[in-house]
């Protein structure tokens, strides 16, 4: 049976006021065995993503893929047009004039690599996603201003509404709220 269906809430959220507090809370939650933990902050905090157990991201792979595709595409375009389809003999110079192909290969590589970075990041983040349960918490507006949040999801195996709420309160949270799904 789906644990989230058992509880009609998405999770329990706790608010903190400083980066130090939220990182410590995240580490404590991780130490207590919670794995489905989300953390929210108005600016990037490296220690925070590590504390909830997130280490590797794959954006660099999409960038590399984009770059290689772009460069290959740029080369293929110029090769096909200048060597096969529309060759122009200028003083017997080689049709596969690689040095003159380099600028465009380079630029198209960079272009697709940039798309790889942007699209990779946005899609891997699951964006665009206008609705998310956490927006149901009124004080979550401050997540983009000056507050820091930890949310333990109901789908976590160790989740129990009452116990998890108490646990979060015990970590020194300024406010503990249920998040409606």
């Amino acid at each position: 049976m789906n644990r989230q269906e058992e509880h009609s809430i998405y999770g329990v959220m706790a608010r903190f006021d400083t980066p130090t507090d939220v990182v410590r809370a995240a580490r404590d939650a991780n130490a207590a065995g919670y794995r489905q933990v989300n953390a929210y902050s108005p600016f990037p905090i490296e220690e925070l993503s590590e504390a909830i157990g997130f280490h590797r991201d794959h954006v660099s792979k999409t960038v590399l893929l984009g770059g290689l595709l772009g460069a290959a595409g740029g080369f293929a375009l110029q090769y096909f047009t200048s060597v096969i389809d529309y060759p122009i003999n200028v003083g017997g110079r080689p049709l596969l004039s690689l040095p003159s192909f380099v600028p465009i290969i380079f630029e198209s590589g960079i272009l697709l690599a940039a798309f790889g970075a942007v699209l990779g990041m946005i899609l891997m983040n699951g964006l665009p996603r206008p609705y998310h349960p956490v927006f149901n918490v009124p004080s979550f507006k401050r997540a983009s201003r000056d507050a820091f949040f930890i949310c333990i999801k109901a789908s976590d195996p160790k989740f129990d509404p009452a116990r998890t709420r108490d646990f979060l309160a015990g970590l020194g949270a300024k406010e503990v709220t249920d998040v409606e799904a």
Binding site: F43, E47, S49, D85, P103, I104, E107, F115
Partner: protein
């Protein structure tokens, strides 16, 4: 580097990167309020009005140009390229500072770029937009500009990929696209902040769509920082390559004054020079009128002056080398080209160039003048003019007298050359004014990262990890910069 300065009781004599006394909330309020205030300020309306009038002059000129043809300009054989290409290179050069500030300073972990990078990058985008108008419209038949792009066509033809003009098409398009992406990505978290701060539903809707549902999830931030850093890493060689490719428009040609291998580094340095001058030209008034002295401090201004001084010296070295090449080559045509530049009919432009680009900026060696905002502003205006003159000297003076004396002609710009140029300045300023009004000028989240209360104080063993690793995207300020 990261942690020892506070501990040793060392007091950094330099002005701070961010004014003291701010909290997360006060920072957000100060920057977001500019966007959310109800009325338009009189100063903004006045500036926008003038800019828009000039932009209208631009649109009129463009209409007349497309209707009547390139003959309305002063371009004529042998000076086939004049104001059109001068302006193109000038604008693209200006754009490069934005990318340098956004990308290169990020990679060099200079946290002072955090406050100025957004409006510098906006400046890049608008400058590239203005630049792009010129190649598009200076073609004889602008309505077939799409022939520049490689598409399968009924003529059975393909563009000539071996030409720098084609390389330009790819380079400038890529540059515009990547800059736009970089700028927009930087804005996503701030759009989230604006969405959460907005009072009216329609404001929330617009910022909501633009922010794509950003919620500040730590995992998302991690990927975000990766993408941002990678984009910066991509933009750096991009900026270097784009202006090198633009310089190839000339360097690959054969006339004296154009055919020089020094052009790529010389142009790139010149672009950074011109760009920083424009950042200061725009940034100093913006700082004053929007009361951003806490975020754009004297440290920023001093650093930018130093960058300008350094790149100005590189440009000066370029001029010196051109003189040297002309002499050392023993080539009659090169030597004549140099003599013509200095003592020919346009000689006054060359000396004006030396004054504006080499002599006046040397004032920046003096610390008192680096701290004097009026002096810095005036010097940056001189550099803006000087860089325009440099392109004039390179393009027009090399073209009007090349190998064959019977082909020599003088060049005279027409009123439409001027109206188009000043029109693009108006267009640029119009876009800047719109940006200042509707978008947070300073990256809110990047500024928060620099506040002392943003540091994670670890009391235990994780302190060791904090110093070296936490610099992704300038996220943790490096006090040693």
């Amino acid at each position: 580097m990261a942690d020892t300065i506070e501990n040793k009781g060392y007091v950094d004599p330099r002005p701070p990167v961010i004014g003291s006394g701010h909290t997360f909330e006060s920072l957000t309020a100060k920057i977001a309020d500019v966007v959310f205030m109800r009325r338009f300020q009189k100063g903004w309306i006045f500036g926008f009005g003038i800019a828009f009038l000039l932009a209208l002059a631009l649109f009129n000129t463009i209409a007349y140009l497309v209707l009547k043809g390139v003959g309305i300009w002063g371009n004529s054989v042998p000076v086939g390229w004049a104001f059109d290409i001068i302006n193109f290179v000038w604008w693209i050069g200006i754009g490069h500072a934005g990318t340098l500030i956004s990308a290169i300073l990020l990679l060099l972990r200079q946290s002072w770029r955090n406050s100025i990078n957004r409006f510098a990058e906006a400046m890049t985008l608008f400058a590239v937009a203005c630049a792009g108008l010129f190649p598009a419209l200076h073609t004889g038949r602008p309505w077939v500009d799409y022939w520049l792009f490689p598409y399968p066509n009924t003529m059975g033809m393909w563009p000539n990929f071996r030409s720098p003009l084609m390389w330009d098409v790819f380079a400038v398009s890529t540059y515009a696209t990547v800059s736009a992406l970089f700028w927009f990505i930087g804005l996503i978290p701030d759009f989230g902040t604006m969405r959460d701060t907005a009072k009216h539903p329609w404001q929330r809707a617009i910022f909501g769509i633009l922010s794509m549902g950003w919620r500040g999830d730590a995992r998302h931030w991690h990927r975000y920082e990766s993408a941002y850093l990678l984009l910066a890493g991509l933009s750096t060689p991009l900026v270097l390559s784009v202006h090198s490719i633009v310089s190839f428009d000339f360097a690959v040609g054969i006339i004296p004054g154009w055919h020089a291998t020094i052009f790529p580094p010389y142009f790139v340095a010149g672009a950074v020079y011109a760009g920083f001058a424009m950042v200061l030209t725009i940034g100093l008034p913006v700082r004053k009128f929007y009361h951003l002295e806490d975020f754009i401090t004297l440290r920023h201004i001093r650093n930018m002056c130093k960058v300008m001084l350094a790149t100005g010296l590189i440009v000066g070295y370029g001029y010196l080398m051109e003189l040297f090449f002309a002499w050392y080559s023993g080539n009659t045509y090169e030597q004549f080209m140099m003599k013509n530049r200095m003592f020919g009919p346009y000689g006054y432009m060359y000396w004006l160039l030396i004054l504006c680009n080499i002599l006046v900026p040397q004032l920046l060696w003096i610390k008192k003048y680096r701290d004097n905002l009026l002096v810095v502003f005036v010097v940056s205006m001189f550099i803006n003019v000087g860089m325009w003159l440099e392109r004039f000297v390179i393009i027009v003076m090399s073209l009007h007298r090349d190998f064959l004396p019977s082909s020599w002609r003088m060049y005279t710009p027409t009123v439409f050359d001027f109206s188009m140029f000043f029109g693009t300045i108006g267009f640029f300023l119009t876009l800047m004014f719109l940006f200042l009004r509707f978008v947070p000028i300073i990256p809110i989240f990047e500024m928060k990262v620099m506040l002392p209360q943003a540091k994670v104080r670890s009391d235990d063993k994780s302190q060791a990890a904090e110093g070296d690793k936490g610099t992704l995207g300038g996220a943790v300020p490096q006090f040693g910069d």
